[in-house]
Symmetry: C2
DNA sequence: AGAGTTCTGTACTGAGTTGTCAACTACGGC
DNA sequence: GCCGTAGTTGACAACTCAGTACAGAACTCT
């Protein structure tokens, strides 16, 4: 018995995420957010509790998407596990897309992982941001570890390698590619890094 | 025949760097800089051309320190090259120190590489920052590659590995450790990542 | 010791920022 | 068709910020 919302919550959070990823948190004003989302100032405060609220909810949405995407991209039959790891590594070269159907931003610094950007910018001064970012990373690491185990079952990765350690190393490399890319290194260089990382995965002895 | 400066330029730039690394560029006001450096507003503008000038010169100083430190930490006799690589990897766990004699900031997000933080925050919107960050990374990669070559000469790394590719991979891992650390993962986790990375270096066949 | 030049710090300005508020609008039940 | 509820809007006030200008202080060379 009241007026319904005239905007789509997820659509607004996507637009906000894109803005935050492009100009950073402190580099984004509420007016910028308002322009990016099409919502008025008041609505932003009423629905999301202002700039900081928008950030937290956008990050939560990002976490939810990641928690769905990573396992989906990495799960599957044991035979394809190694190839899925390779593809996931190479996916980092082009950055983390905003949504499944939206290509990553053209400029590389804005294409970096949302959680990583915010963690590095707001870091210790914002425990909630830090916690969400950590959760994002853990989710990806878990999915990677599962895929490593699958590859081990298929005999593509050395059985004595610790899947969790390897997963965190892969996560680190992926996030590192983001950073090196943001500093302006060429896609060719990033591809070469991803390829080197893949080549170094511990294979079973001989064949 | 005029009044000399009453401050030490490098000291001021160090203080500014610490401030930028702690609160980010857009999160730092000129007043913050003034308080951190002890300089008045006027002096900051006269000597460094304002906030942006301070940033660029602080980054240049960082680059100079890195260009000196990395080769120094990685150069040496061929026998110790592999161990030097191991140490350099593990150094990333505690973050990048502000100066040789100053320990890294206690909070992990502020301990991350200055160039990486600024590149990710200002990224594409500031070509000069991007260029300096890229230069920092290239300098480290070059030093790493030299050390890899030394390790190869000593038979500790597979001779068919491309030293440049390996160097960039190591750089990526080091920067990735920064990011994973900034998200709040424990030093133990970071150490484990560094150890895994080292263990995966391509060794010569057999022994 | 004096004069000139450079450094230093504070006060000021205009632009931009955040968070709030009151009026307005639209929709669903009665 | 009216009314209450909740969403929306634009404007407003307080504040912060970057950058400038000016006046005073300090030092060196003569």
């Amino acid at each position: 018995m009241a007026r319904p919302r005239s905007f789509d919550r997820d659509h607004v959070l996507h637009a906000a995420e894109r803005q935050f990823r492009t100009t950073g948190y402190n580099g984004t004003s509420v007016d910028d957010l308002s322009a990016a989302t099409g919502l008025g100032r008041g609505s932003l405060y009423a629905a999301f509790d202002g700039k900081h609220g928008v950030l937290l909810q956008a990050m939560t949405g990002y976490f939810a998407r990641l928690g769905q995407f990573a396992p989906q991209a990495l799960a599957g039959p044991d035979e394809g596990a190694l190839e899925r790891l390779r593809r996931y590594l190479h996916r980092a070269v082009n950055g983390v897309p905003l949504a499944d159907d939206v290509p990553p931003a053209p400029d590389r610094a804005a294409a970096a992982c949302f959680a990583a950007k915010m963690a590095l910018e707001l870091g210790a001064s914002d425990p909630e941001v830090e916690r969400t970012a950590k959760a994002c990373f853990s989710a990806v690491a878990t999915a990677l570890a599962e895929c490593v185990r699958a590859a081990q079952r298929n005999g593509d990765i050395a059985p004595d390698a610790d899947p969790d350690d390897l997963a965190y190393l892969l996560l680190t490399i992926i996030r590192g590619i983001d950073v090196v890319g943001a500093a302006g290194h060429s896609p060719a260089r990033l591809t070469s890094i991803a390829e080197s990382a893949f080549a170094l995965l511990p294979r079973p002895r001989h064949r």
